[in-house]
Every structure is written in structure tokens, then in C-alpha cells.
Amino acid sequence: MITTTVATGPLLDIRGLSAGYGATAVISGIDMAVARGEIRVIVGPNGAGKSTLLKSLLSMTTILQGQVLFGERDITGVPTAQLVPMGIAAVPQSRNVFVSLSVAENLDVGTYAVPGVDAPRMFERVYQLFPDLKDKRRQPAGELSGGQRQMVAIGRALMADPSLLLLDEPTAGLSPAYLERIFDLIVDIRQTGVTVVMVEQNARQALRIADVGTVLVSGRHHISGHGRALLANDEVRRSFLGGGEAS
């Protein structure tokens, strides 16, 4: 008889995580479980610790307490570079491309950490998602616009064929046209089976594509819920989305 085990638990399970820089905690006691195939959007006012939470998942902060599980594996404090082969790819907010490498080289570098990744197939997949990049593949990434760089950065992360994609404010500083495109792309990326956790400043648009939104306030978990439910929540809207009607 053939039995197959289907992993049913959350893909990412954060338990009581406190972290910061040095001995100072920026986030404390965060609990968050992200299901497979979910788009999780983390929003909150400036200084709420959104980016710190994401950096803590990448071991780029000092972990003071708590645990991060990726599937069954404890990845708390695992060196950043070792997360990629496990299936976690990330895009930082600024300085997100290798400026002196060409677009194609940036993408290629994304495959290096994962043994046995089918590079030609990944190139095809990324160029399908971002057709503009194919035309610019020989250009140094440093010569691209902010929106194009963001695509190179996300493309580079996808080249590692990750199961979890972490995005730190992917639309920061982008024009409204690009903003829409990036959000559409994130939905497309999820369709390919990738779980997405993203921190966003443009909370309204981001929550619209979120399966689950999480609001952080002062480094603590404030409320979580379906993206549209949060948008409809009066208190959330008033306090964190700059008031106004849900659109």
C-alpha cells in the first residue's frame, strides 16, 4: 500500500518571537502562522517593527526569544545564506539588485545556492512573469528604473525556486502604474505555488490581495484577519489606513 504524507501544518510558524538590534527588542512576542500558498501582508504604522520581523526571519537581527519554524524545521538564527537552499528567498527593501551585474547575471546568481535547480527552466519562468527583463538582460541592473530593479530583485529570488518568498516593501518608491503591476505579479507568483509574506507601506492595495493581513503596532501583533475583512474593520481603517472609506 502506498501512503503519502501531505504536510498540513503551516509553512511558516513564528512562536513568541522577540528580536531587535543588540539587546533592545523592536518586536516582542510575535505569534504568526502562515499557511502554504497564502499571501500574508504585514502592515502597520512606521516603526511598528514590520521590517524587523522580516529581517528576524532571515537571522539579520538579534533573536532574543522565541522560535521560527519553516515546515518542520527550526530555522531560528540559521545563517542568512543557508536559508535559500531550504526554500526561503527574500527581497530586501533597498539595495535589492547587484548594480554592476547585468540583469541576466543577477538572475543567474539566484540559482547558485540551490543545488540541482533547473536554471534554463527558471529563466523561462521568470522571463514569462517579467517579459521586460528579457529585452534588458544584458544591461547592468544599476541602470534600470526603480520598478524594473524591483522586478529583477523578485526575479532573482524566484530563480532559487523557493516555497516561501519574503518581500520587504516591494512597492516602496514606485509609481502607481508599477505598484499595480507588482501586486498583480505577486498574485501570479502565488498561483505558481509560492507562499508570499510581504511587508507593505501601501496597506490598502496590499490588503486587497492578501489572504491574511497582520497589523503590527509598536512591535506587537495587534490583529490578523482576512485582507478584505481588515479593510472593512473600522478601527483598523481609522488607526492604520489613514481613515476614510474602504474602497
Binding site: A81, V84, V91, V99, S100, L101, E105, V109, G110, Y112
Partner: protein, 296 residues
Amino acid sequence: MIQFINFYLIPALALGSIYALGAVGISMIFGILRFSHFAHGDVMTLGAYGTLSAVWAFGWHPLAALPFGIALAVAAALVADRAFYRPLRKLPTIYAVIASFGVALMIRSLVQLFWGPQNQVFKSGVRAPLVLFDTFRVSSLHLQAIGITLALALALHWFLSRTRTGRSMRAVSDDPDLASIAGLEPERVIRATWIIGATLAATAGVLAGMDTQVHANMGWNLLLAMFASALLGGIGKPMGAVAGGFLIGLIEELSTYPWIGSEPLVSPSYKSALAFGIMVLILLLRPQGLMRGRLL
């Protein structure tokens, strides 16, 4: 004109190629580890002595024995990194710079201890010059040095642009944090940097030793010109360092040519001061160097 080529231009390019090979390592180490490696000249010396021992033991031509010198220089660089630079990696880079002075002194003392303080030669005797087209009388050694350097520069360019390790090195040089996020192991890239830097330094040491003599201070004496070359090309850019090395070599040697009248323009005893002067000028006027880009 013939005289100019025979006695000034070719020797200048040969000297420049030695500077170039040393400067590439300095430049790459700076680009990836972000510190000035003052022991680089002594790694070069060690490469020359390692080769010398193999020449003594097997009676081979120095270039055939070069792999022994390279192995010794690479081993020394990796040991120095593991023992002295790696523990200082997270601290401000000035600690590693000072440590590299210490490593320089250690290597030099060990060289004197093992090989003695006296000067050595790979091969004694006068070498007849190579006569080309009945007019050019040049040292075949100089042509070898220039040819080897150009070939190594081409190979390095290919390596950095085409191979995984080369691209990883450029990525780390560009942005070490992003490189970690992309899953590149920084220590692997650092190891590759030492291996390449020490290989080129050992080659430069042997070329320098074949041209004159092998002695414990040879690399240290060349260090300043190599730093000037690396700065001239833009620190962190190996191809810039190659160009910078040739330029510094040309400027130093050609400054002694009797451009005006029959006397050397600059007395040969001052020519090494020119490298200093250029280095200071570059730092003041164009600290990013003459070339654009990073690591390529």
C-alpha cells in the same frame, strides 16, 4: 626610437606587468574583504622563494617550478586569513589592516629564517638579449612577463564574467548583505579571492625575481607601487588594476628617458617617488580611480 623601445618601453611594460599582477590581488581583496592587504608584497616574496626551492631541488626552469611557489603563497594566504583576518571580520576593517602589517612582518621574518638574509638568483650568468627583426634587442624575460600578465588578465576577465565563482565574487563585492540573502556563502567567495590573489602575487614575485634577484624585502619594496596601481585603476576593479599597473610602470620608467636634452628627465633615483606622487594625486582628484564599474 629603437633605443627608446629597447631600453625604456619594453622594460617599463615588464615592470608594469609585475605591478599589475600584484595590484589585481590588492584590488580584489579590497573589493571583497574591504581592507587594504599590506602583507600582499610578502605573499609575493614567499611565492618567489617557494619557486626558488623547487628550482634548487629539481633544477627546473623557474616558470616550470612556479606551481610550487603558488602553492606556498596560497597556503600562506589561507592560513593568514583563517588565523588572523577571519576573527576580525566583524570588526571595523582597520583591525584587519593592522593585522596585515603583522602578517607582513611574520612572513618576511620566516623567509629570512628559512632561506637566509642574503640575496638569491634563480639562474646566474648573463642572458643574451633576443634580437627581433635585426633591430630590437629585448630581454626574452621581459616579453615573457608581459605575455604572462596579459594572458592572466584575460583569463581573470573570463573567470569573473563567465563562471559561477567569478560572478559570485562580483556579487559579494557589489553588496555583501544582498549576496548573503541570495544564498551566496561569503566564506567560499573569500577563499576564492585569496587563492586568486596569492596565485597572481606568486607569479609576480617569480617574474620580479627572474628579472633581478630574490630577497626577503622584494615584495615589500614593490608594495607601494602596487597600491598606487590598484588605486589608479579604481580600487576593487581588477581590470583597472591591470591597466593601473602598466601605467605606473610606464610612468616610472619613461620618466627617466631623456625627453629634453640628453639628461634623464627625472633622475632614476627619484622614479619610485613618482608612484607615491601619482597615488596621492589620484586620492585627491579622483578617488574612484580611472575606471568605471566594480570588479570588472
